[in-house]
């Protein structure tokens, strides 16, 4: 049986054509996608872009701006929007931490993104002008220092054979760079071992972890390398189709990924492999691999219970390799340059933002000590680094200056490089404000499936808010930490307390 | 779950509506049922439908009959009477008419809503106390053609599979059944199986609920079923896809059958049925190739003037494909009433004693004569439809005893039925509620409902289940078994047939013990005590074995142990649409109502579906100037009724569909009293009508 049409692209098509969604449209798309209308309705009521809301001005909410002047900007925005008769609000993410603060002007399903903006820019917006430079794409100069991943791919590697590729990936020591750091060869092997005639490769380009923008960079500036890695992986595991899931808000990345796909298709690179670019649902949870699969299937992006893992029963119940954008780029590099050369160089992308002179995407050897990285980026008097992202931890400086940024060393202290975000805060910043942003983020992004996360994250947000205003309920926070971390169904809820907890445990002065 | 109201008690019993026989827990407070919960395990596995869940309001409806009524003189009024008087009156009148006109002037209509024990007693009343085989029940109107064909061809007329086997069928064929509305719990199970990979073929002129999820929907022209299924079978043989081993071992009559389908090519079937030949071919091949394929059907197959042929065509197909005798493979008539299986099992039929022992067999008659100590009549009984047709004719029926039957709404050609009832010398109506027939009665006997008595029901997959009283019957109403035993004792004394003391029972369990002794092969192993623990399927010959699930695993129940292939030819309907009456009227049920509406329309279900809606295709609506929601007249040669038009593509062009539940808008005022010659089932699915805007 042919795979059915996918719901979200069908909904997007109607949305684009008609500017909104009527029940009859939803019913029609549901039938075309082979889903009960109720399932399509659930999707419409889940993904933000299907809820038409007219013109809105949205301040991008992320930990760096939270640590700085978020409240003032928001105040300015609310006043200006009030005068203009426009709905103000906030929105998470966009991968613009390195160039923020950022502002999104949303008009129904379309939007424009500006960064950096300040209070004056907001005034200009209210007066009918532009609030700042447009930021559809990350500026090219954010790539710092060049490197294998940051150089645009030239000739793409040929497929060396499944055994060869997988053993090279194994030898290279590559791990999943979406943040989980799971050995990549094992996933490849697991999917390859499945007997199914139909298998999928899904590229996880739903980079929604605050502080991370290296996947965005790759998708915008080097998408051919990612497609190459995906195609190699597909051949290695025996998949006939690759679906590239691009974060819903990354309009520029989406266009470039699709352009690269079309180009490679034309060049014959895919050689019979089916490929599709997929606009993601536009929520953090879509990056959780099983939730991502649900969203491709047209359902609410909610994490599945595991087992079964996607390698056994993934997209439409078929064995599926889900890999992060950067991981696949690395696979292409390994195929092109060999495992030994790769291992020697051990390249890794880091997204560096905050109080540094040169924020941007850095390709650095794994294991580079934290202080060396901060020095390269031009950090002055760094006090803390929020490492990994919102699902990360505050690392204290100078105490942790020598921490090697590799896969395993940070874990000893309960930290992780995650996808490679480093949000730097100097001693003038309000770390509690940043933590408050993180807590707000999780409360907003909880999908609503499991009880601890859907009920616990709003209370985490409230407790952090109250703490910052003097009402300190450590015992309740500790209870929530436990319930969230040990009780939540997926990584979102499990990681929700980490940043707040690390702040409480490591920064006595703020914990007092 | 914590109910909002603490129950005084929770009673586990069986839903009174359809043949699925769902087990329910009834929550009772202050003698009121306020919550109905499904029980886990067979047959319903935790599920219910709207009728069982929310449709029990009739139990406490003011229309309940609460006291015996007697019409003391012809033309007088029905007046309250004591049980003594009413029972004596019934017995005396029956005995008097039998002595004047012979026992065959009496007719006994049993009830598929009554318990097994009560059905047993009703046929015992006819055979032992009155001395006639004139007993029947409403299966005459629903599955008598299934019974006729299946008994003849396979030796047993029940479902060959169980509900639990639904997920085991890799192909399911549903034909002439709007399962999701008429057997909703089974319908949902078939839908679920379909979601889990079962290939579903629906053959139905109407876009019934299952057609929406079917992989193949064969929208055949009404009544062309034997051609469709004949062509499928012919194709299997012609293309070498039939199960030669199975046929060689288990079938007889192949040559004669093969001769009879020579013209039923796929192309011919395509022309006759309107289904593309390719689809017929695919259906046939998928059905035959399935690891296990089951056919389910209901009134869309049976209620035709060639209903027996329709069922035989299904039998032929299943036998040729070898889709019988293994789990998930079989022939499954979905039985309508909660105890219609049991009513037949208990011998509430003119041609068989309990356990399907044929009355035509002198040895069988001798056995029962001994068993009851009452001479057994040699005259064959007549069917209920024949009995009603005979009223007023020489040698016809003169007295009718109705238990839980409302012929004015259920028989075809209502005006004709009314006239016949007027002509009766004597009519007994024994029921729980006032119905349409009740004003014609000479005696009205108020009965207890399912929730007010003990006994057993047998569901569509042959599962015998205990029912238990929830509360006391209202007023002086008494259980049917008690009433029948009281009448039986009196009649036996008056006719001198049998031993009046043979009518003394302490309760339904004692009646059941008599059933076990009378039909040990089917029921010998089933006791009320065993049923306290679990429902049991017949056949179950001894207490140390479970009941049989899959029928025909070791051959068929015919004398030769083989299945009989028989010619099954299409016949034109008794009334072809033409000229003044250009549309085919098909009648049936909807989700929210039950048959004549006596029960469902006296409950909350009434609000969900208050009045008659007739389904009209968009093309016919345009042709006859009818808008959706508009009042229309449906007119046949026999009468007219008003309805609200529902313009929908559920019904095909040229066919209107009217549900039968509305006494004020009785579809059976329109239907023709034409019958299948073998089973005497009325041809409810094809009457000629016209549509007029009202």
């Amino acid at each position: 049986m042919n795979r059915r049409s996918l719901l979200l692209p069908l909904l997007d098509e109607v949305l684009e054509r008609r500017g909104g969604l009527e029940p009859a449209d939803v019913e029609g798309t549901a039938r075309a996608a082979g889903l009960p209308p109720a399932v399509a309705w659930e999707a419409v009521r889940f993904y933000p872009r299907y809820q038409a809301r007219g013109v809105r001005w949205l301040l991008v909410d992320e930990p760096v701006v939270r640590g700085r002047n978020f409240e003032k900007l928001l105040d300015a925005l609310e006043r200006a929007a009030g005068r203009a008769g426009v709905e103000p609000g906030t929105v998470f993410g966009y991968g613009l931490e390195a160039v923020g603060p950022a502002l999104v002007v949303e008009d129904g399903p379309s939007r424009r993104v500006y960064a950096p903006v300040d209070a004056a820019g907001i005034e200009r917006l209210a007066a009918g002008g532009e609030p700042g430079p447009e930021a559809e794409l990350l500026p090219r100069e954010l790539a710092r220092g060049g490197g294998w991943l940051l150089e645009e791919a030239g000739k793409l590697p040929a497929f060396p054979g499944a055994d060869e590729l997988i053993s090279a990936v194994r030898e290279a020591g590559l791990r999943g760079l979406g943040g989980a750091l799971f050995p990549t060869w094992r996933k490849l092997e697991a999917v390859r071992a499945q007997a199914s005639e139909v298998k999928y490769v899904v590229v996880n380009g739903d980079e929604s972890e605050p502080g991370n923008f290296k996947d965005r960079w790759l998708m915008e500036r080097n998408p051919r390398l990612v497609w190459a890695g995906a195609a190699l992986a597909a051949r290695a595991v025996g998949a006939g189709e690759v679906i590239f899931y691009v974060r819903g808000e990354y309009d520029g990345a989406l266009a470039r990924v699709e352009a690269a796909r079309a180009g490679l298709e034309k060049e014959g690179y895919f050689d019979g492999l089916k490929t599709q670019t997929f606009r993601g649902g536009g929520l953090y949870i879509c990056g959780e691999e099983s939730a991502l699969l649900e969203s491709i299937e047209g359902k609410r992006a909610e994490p599945r219970l595991k087992p079964p893992y996607p390698a056994e029963a993934g997209l439409f119940g078929r064995p599926t390799l889900v890999q992060n954008v950067e991981t696949l780029a690395h696979i292409a590099l390994i195929a092109a340059r060999g495992a030994a050369a790769y291992r020697e160089r051990a390249p890794k992308l880091f997204s560096i933002s905050g109080d540094v002179e040169l924020p941007g995407v850095y390709e650095l050897p794994l294991g580079t000590p934290l202080d060396r990285v901060l020095e390269l980026a031009g950090a002055k008097k760094p006090r803390a680094v929020l490492m990994g992202g919102a699902a990360g931890t505050f690392v204290k400086l100078p105490e942790s200056a020598g921490l090697p940024l590799d896969y395993d060393a940070p874990r000893a202290g309960g930290d992780s490089i995650g996808p490679g975000a480093l949000m730097v805060f100097d001693e003038t910043r309000d770390l509690w404000a940043a933590a408050e942003g993180v807590a707000a983020f999780f409360a907003h992004e909880s999908c609503g499936k499991c009880f601890p996360c859907s009920l616990g994250t709003p209370h985490l947000q409230a407790l952090v808010w109250r703490w910052r205003r003097g009402e300190r309920r450590r015992e309740l926070l500790e209870k929530l930490f436990l319930a969230l971390e040990q009780g939540s169904l997926c990584g979102l809820g499990q990681a929700a307390p980490w940043a707040v907890r690390s702040l409480l445990e490591r920064f006595e002065e703020v914990a007092r | 779950m914590t109910p909002r109201v603490q129950p005084d008690r929770v009673v586990s019993t069986v839903c009174p509506y359809c043949g699925v026989g769902c087990r329910v827990d009834l929550y009772v407070k202050d003698e009121k049922i306020y919550r109905v919960m499904a029980r886990e395990g067979p047959p319903n596995h935790g599920a219910l439908c709207v009728k069982g869940r929310f449709g029990l309001g009739f139990l406490r409806h003011p229309d309940r009959l609460t006291t015996p009524l007697v019409r003391r003189e012809k033309g007088g009024a029905l007046e309250p009477a004591s049980w003594e008087e009413a029972l004596d009156f019934v017995a005396e009148r029956l005995a008097q008419i039998a002595s004047e006109h012979g026992p065959d002037a009496l007719y006994f209509v049993s009830s598929a809503k009554a318990s097994n024990e009560e059905n047993y007693l009703m046929q015992k009343l006819a055979r032992a106390a009155a001395g006639t085989h004139n007993v029947d029940h409403c299966a005459r109107l629903c599955h008598s053609s299934s019974t006729a064909a299946l008994s003849r061809a396979l030796g047993s007329a029940a479902m060959s599979n169980t509900i639990e086997e639904i997920p085991l069928s890799s192909v399911i064929v549903v034909t002439g059944s709007n399962t999701v509305e008429t057997h909703p719990v089974i319908g949902a199970m078939i839908k679920k199986a379909t979601r889990n990979g079962t290939f579903l073929i629906v053959a139905d002129p109407r876009r019934v609920g299952l057609a929406e999820v079917a992989h193949l929907w064969l929208r055949l022209r009404p009544g062309t079923d034997p051609v469709l299924f004949g062509a499928m079978a012919r194709h299997l043989v012609a293309s070498g896809r039939y199960d030669t081993g199975f046929v060689a071992r288990y079938a007889e009559g192949f040559e004669e059958w093969w001769e009879s389908v020579q013209d039923y090519t796929l192309e011919y079937a395509g022309q006759v049925t309107g289904v593309p030949a390719g689809k017929i071919q695919e259906a046939a091949e998928r059905y035959a190739a399935a690891s296990a394929a089951a056919i389910y059907w209901a009134m869309g197959i049976t209620q035709h003037n060639h209903g027996t042929e329709n069922v035989q065509a299904l039998v032929n197909l299943a036998v040729l494909a070898g889709q019988l005798g293994k789990p998930g493979a079989g022939l499954n008539p979905l039985r309508g009433q909660n105890n219609v299986q049991g009513a037949g099992d208990m011998g509430a039929l003119p041609n068989v004693y309990p356990g399907y022992q044929p009355t035509a067999d002198a040895a069988v008659r001798r056995r029962w004569a001994e068993f009851w100590g009452a001479p057994q009549p040699e005259n064959p009984g007549v069917t209920m439809t024949e009995a009603f047709e005979s009223i007023g004719r020489p040698g016809g029926v003169r007295a009718v005893y109705l238990m839980g039957e409302d012929p004015i709404t259920s028989e075809p050609y209502q005006d004709h039925v009314r006239a016949a009832l007027e002509e009766l010398d004597f009519l007994v109506v024994q029921d729980i509620l006032k119905n349409e027939t009740y004003p014609y009665a000479d005696v009205v006997l108020p009965a207890a409902s399912f929730a007010e008595k003990h006994g057993t029901f047998t569901n569509t997959d042959r599962r015998v289940q205990l029912i238990r009283p929830v509360f006391k019957a209202p007023g002086e109403a008494e259980p049917d078994w008690w009433i029948l035993s009281e009448v039986g004792r009196r009649l036996s004394r008056l006719t001198g047939r049998g031993d009046p003391e043979g009518w003394e029972y302490t309760g339904p369990d004692e009646v059941w013990e008599e059933v076990r002794r009378g039909a040990p092969n089917l029921f010998g192993g089933i006791s009320h005590a065993r049923l306290e623990r679990e429902g049991l399927r017949w056949p179950c010959a001894s207490e140390d074995v479970p009941g049989v699930s899959v029928l025909f695993t070791g051959g068929f129940y015919t004398p030769s142990k083989k299945a009989r292939l028989l010619p099954a030819r299409w016949r034109p309907p008794a009334e072809e649409p033409s000229g003044e009456f250009p549309l085919i009227l098909s009648t049936g049920r909807v989700l929210y109502h039950w048959h004549g509406g006596v029960l469902s329309r006296r409950s909350a279900l009434r609000e969900a579906y208050p009045e008659l809606k007739v389904e009209v295709s968009p093309a016919d609506a345009a042709r006859y100037g009818v808008r959706d929601g508009q009042k229309v007249w449906l007119v046949s040669r026999r009468g007219r009724i008003q309805a609200t038009a529902w313009v929908t593509d559920r019904t095909p062009e040229g066919v209107v569909f009217a549900p039968i539940h509305f006494a004020e808008q009785p579809a059976n005022r329109l239907t023709k009293n034409a019958y299948d010659p073998t089973s005497k089932i009325p041809s409810y699915k094809q009457s000629a009508v016209r549509l007029e805007p009202a």
Binding site: P452, E485 | M1
Partner: protein, 217 residues
């Protein structure tokens, strides 16, 4: 098939192959709290009350969704599990009207839950409107935990109708109907299988409501 030996709370239990820890524990007389799990629905792993500790696993896993495996060592009670359950129960009871769920009341008591310590409810559930749009049952969504049993009963699990749908995200999420229509418009067949599986008393027959109100409704 052979039995699967597992150790539950230090006791060797012979489990059936393929059964869940929850069922194996129940048969061994060990009660594990759960809200979302129901024998007839596919809902599992949502409420997280049934999470248990398993040797060799970093995080507790839901007993309702984890199949037994030979040699498994399971603990269904510990200080940490109790604390976790207490917090989840407190939040459920804080955010939801639980007055008609005796089962939950029992668990609240067992784990010494004190919902009031969390202050004011935040999810807005208690303000959800009661919906009466049919002749058979009422939907009092202030009592709904979002366990989704009703959704599964309506769709995949039993009925295959999909009249009900789940809307929104996070704490704001809740049950609605397809296109937010009335139940009848949404294609509901009023089987009441949602009422059957509802653990909270949010879905309740009108007859019961009427009786509870002394027949005044």
């Amino acid at each position: 098939m052979s039995r699967v030996p597992v150790v539950i709370n230090g006791v060797l239990v012979e489990a059936e192959p393929g059964e869940t820890i929850l069922n194996a524990a129940r048969r061994a007389g060990v009660e594990i709290p759960t809200i979302c799990h129901h024998e007839r629905t596919g809902t599992k792993g949502l409420c997280r009350l049934c999470v248990v500790e398993m040797a060799g696993r970093g995080r507790p896993e839901p007993a309702c969704a984890t199949e037994v495996a030979a040699g498994m060592v399971v603990n269904t009670e510990s200080e940490e599990l109790a604390a976790l359950r207490r917090t989840v129960l407190e939040l459920v009871a804080l955010e939801t009207n639980v007055e008609h769920d005796d089962g939950l009341a029992g668990w609240l008591e067992k784990y010494g839950a004190d919902p009031a310590r969390w202050g004011e409810p935040l999810a807005g559930r208690r303000a959800r409107q009661t919906i009466r749009d049919n002749a058979f049952y009422l939907r009092e969504y202030d009592k709904c935990y979002n366990c989704r049993r009703c959704l599964d009963a309506c769709g995949e699990g039993i009925q295959g109708v999909w009249a009900l749908a789940f809307a929104g995200r996070g704490a704001e999420a809740g049950v609605t109907t397809v296109f937010d229509l009335t139940l009848a418009e949404a294609g509901c067949v009023f089987c009441g299988n949602c009422v059957q599986v509802c653990p909270t008393g949010a879905l309740v027959p009108l007859e019961e409501i009427s009786l509870a109100a002394g027949g005044l409704l």
